[in-house]
Structure formats: C-alpha cells, structure tokens
Amino acid sequence: MSGISSDVIRGYNDTMILCILMEDASYGYRVSKEISRRSEGKYQIKETTLYSAFNRLEKNGLVESYSDVGENGKRRTYYRITEAGRAFYRDKCEEWKLTKEVVEKFAGIG
C-alpha cells in the first residue's frame, strides 16, 4: 500500500485539525507536525491542504484566528476552536463512528 489516498481522507482533515485545537490553540506547522506525530508518520498533511482547511473552518465560524508571538519570538497566526467548532467536532465523531461501522462491514474482511 502506498500511504493514504488524499481523496479518502479529505473529509476528515477538518476533524483532525479540530481535535488538535480542542486541547489548545495552535499554529500551522505545529498542527501539521502533531497530525503526523499522532498518525505515527502514516499521514502527512500538505501545507496547502492545511491552509485551505483553516480558511474554510474560519469562514464557517468553527475556528478563530489571531496573531500572537510564540516561542522564539516569531509572530504567527494562531487558531483556536469556537463553541460551534466543538459542536461540529462532536457531530463529526458521531458520523465517523457510523461510517466506520458501515464501511467495516464490507472492507474489514480481507
């Protein structure tokens, strides 16, 4: 197998990002690093995909962005999850449980 196809995982990028932001506000690279760490290097999100996701999440009011000076004194755009974002995340978790249940009945055999 040659890694995860981006088509399959696309619908869950938002969930992954929101999951990380649930714990604490964060910025671009740290989120991307966290995704690859938690997936044990099996999934590496592309920069453009990540930016696109942030942008979409912000437009839909699921996250808020603000500028802040982080470690090593660099100014970065930070993202923090909103209440709507938390609700959306919970919905997505429910949806995934269902999806997983259904798909596993067919794809979990081989």
């Binding site: 910025y27 671009g28 690279y29 740290r30 991307s32 690093k33 590496q44 592309k46 920069e47 453009t48 995909t49 990540l50 930016y51 696109s52 942030f54 942008n55 979409r56 660099k74 970065r76 755009t77």
Partner: protein
C-alpha cells in the same frame, strides 16, 4: 531557505494581488519556514530539507477555491505562460545594451557629422595659412564627410534594430519573470541607479557645456579660425552629451520593460520598489508621450537641416526636456 522562498514567490507571482492571496502566501511561507527549521534541527541535511518541504507543499489547486482564484489558477495553465529565467534576463539586458549603444552612437554621429564642415575649413586655413586655396573644393569635401557621417549614423540606427526580432516575444507572448529573475533584475537596476544618474547628469552637462565655445568666441572672434573651432567643438561635445543621454534612457527602458512584464494586478507585478510605474489618467497623454522623443528628434533634424543653424536648433532639447518633465509631473502618477 532561499530556494523555498523562490519557489513560493514563483508559484504566487501570477496570482492576482488581493488581500486573501497575500495572506495565504504569508501563512504558507510561515509554515514552510517552520518546517524547514524543524527539519534542520532534527539533523536533516539542508538540500534534503528543502526537497522535503517543497514536495510536501501541495498544489495551488487546493487553495484556489478558498482564495477565489480558481480562474487565475486555471488561467495560468491555459494561457501558456512563458517563464523568463534569470539567464534570459541577463541576455536581454546585454542585447538591448548593445542595441542602445549602437543607436546612441548613430545619433551621435549624425549630430557630430555637422562638425566636419567647420573642421575641414579649420584644417585648410591652418595648412595654407591664409594663402589661396580652393575653398569650394574644401567645403565640398567637408560636406561629403558630413553626409558620410549621417549615412553611417543612419546605418547604425538601422542595424541597432536587427536584434529586436529575437526579443519580440516579450511583447507578443504572455511572459512572466520568475522570482529569482525578478529579484536579480531589481537588484541590478538598483545597483546601476547611481551610475545611470551620473551618466545622465554628465550628458546633460555636456550638452549645456557645448554651447560655451559659441558664446566665448562670439563678438569680434566670430568667423575665422575661432568661429570654426567653436562650431566644431559645440557639435562634438554636444554629440557626446546626446550619446550619453540616449544610452542612459535606453538602459532604463530595458530594465523597466523587464520589471513591467509581470502583470500589474498580480503578486509578481509589484514586489519591488523599482516596479513602480508612471501611470496616466489620460490615455491621450500616454500615447503622445510614447512617441515624444522620436518626434522631438525628427523636429530637431528637420529644423537643423532646413536652416543649418545648428547653433540655435539645440535649444529644442532642453525645452523639450522641460516640457516632458512638466507633462509627467502634471498628468503622471507613480504607482504599482
């Protein structure tokens, strides 16, 4: 890090310059930079880190809809953009420099050619020391020399246009300077700025200085050896001044043409101060100014050859320069 920076700038250079595009560029740049430094800290070799960051960047296609640039991203592929690289810009500057020098020297020859008539008389007067000599023959020789100079000068101007074909695509095709090329042209232009100003000032200075002998040797020195010498000196010094001025203007134009290739409304069109450009609200004035100097040169030559009063016709140049400045100041706006 520079390779990454260049990669990103080149990717974005054809996109419209909206706030959203700039924001995306800054964000992506920050992410790439963080990743690059983190990789270095992990002990990854620099080239490897650069390759990794670029290969994991993704594609603009992915953010096209977010930025409202779907059209621009699709357009980039469809319009068959031609990317101009740094070596190409260097070659263009070299070629255009050659053409500009030839044209300037051609004009210089035409102007300086007028000095042959008084010069020949001067030499003849000196050689024969007031004794009789066939004045008409000597004058005819001087005139011959003058027309030869003019013919040669016109020839040089014509030859100077021969290389134009090679670079015609710059105007006909949809050309874009990539980021390294753009920044190289910009820094070269800025490095030459001082030299160009000095040259222009020297040229103008020479033109003004050239009339000095005329005034110096007016009055009772008029005519005879002094008169001829001053006329000849005037034309030669003036021609040198004109050559310098034309060279400078041509060089500036070459730089400005390259820097102006990237569309005004794209990110690549306004990255550097030197990409600022004069804009006119009145299209009429812009049209008129584009042929301004050619018209002045034409007037100058017509007037000069019709009246043969070279001592007066030069006035056209400072007056024309003054009018040009006025028009630019009144109607022009400098902006990106």
């Amino acid at each position: 890090m520079e390779t990454i920076h260049n990669y990103l700038e080149t990717m974005f250079s054809a996109l419209p310059n909206t706030d959203e595009v700039y924001r995306a560029k800054d964000e992506l740049s920050a992410m790439m930079e963080d990743k690059f430094h983190a990789l270095l800290e992990e002990g990854v070799a620099e080239e490897e880190a650069v390759a990794k960051v670029i290969s994991e960047f993704g594609s603009l296609d992915e953010i096209a809809d977010d930025l409202g640039i779907r059209e621009a991203v699709v357009g980039v592929d469809e319009k068959k953009q031609r990317r101009i690289t740094e070596p190409e810009t260097a070659e263009y500057l070299k070629d255009s420099g050659k053409a500009v020098r030839r044209r300037a020297c051609g004009v210089g020859l035409i102007v300086a050619g007028g000095s042959l008539m008084p010069l020949v008389r001067l030499v003849a007067d000196y050689l024969y020391g007031g004794a009789y000599y066939p004045v008409q023959l000597v004058e005819a020789a001087g005139a011959m020399g003058m027309f030869l100079c003019i013919a040669f000068g016109v020839g040089m101007i014509i030859v100077s246009t021969s290389g134009k074909q090679k670079w015609a695509f710059l105007s006909h095709e949809n050309c874009q300077l990539d980021y390294p090329a753009l920044s190289a042209v910009d820094s070269r232009y800025r490095a030459e700025q001082e030299k160009l100003s000095m040259r222009l000032a020297t040229g103008v200075g020479l033109c003004i200085l050239s009339i000095l002998p005329i005034f110096l040797f007016s009055g009772h020195f008029r005519g005879g050896i002094f008169g001829q010498a001053s006329q000849a000196a005037f034309l030669i010094v003036g021609a040198c001044g004109i050559v310098l001025i034309l060279c400078t203007i041509g060089r500036k134009r070459a730089f400005e043409r390259l820097l102006g290739l990237n569309g005004r409304d794209t990110v690549g069109g306004n990255q550097f101060l030197s990409q600022k450009r004069l804009r006119f609200d009145e299209p009429m004035i812009e049209e008129a100014l584009s042929v301004y100097w050619q018209t002045v040169l034409c007037l100058y030559l017509c007037w000069s050859f019709l009246t043969f009063s070279w001592t007066r016709t030069w006035v056209l140049w400072p007056v024309a320069a003054l009018i040009h400045r006025l028009l630019v100041n009144l109607f022009g706006k400098e902006e990106f």
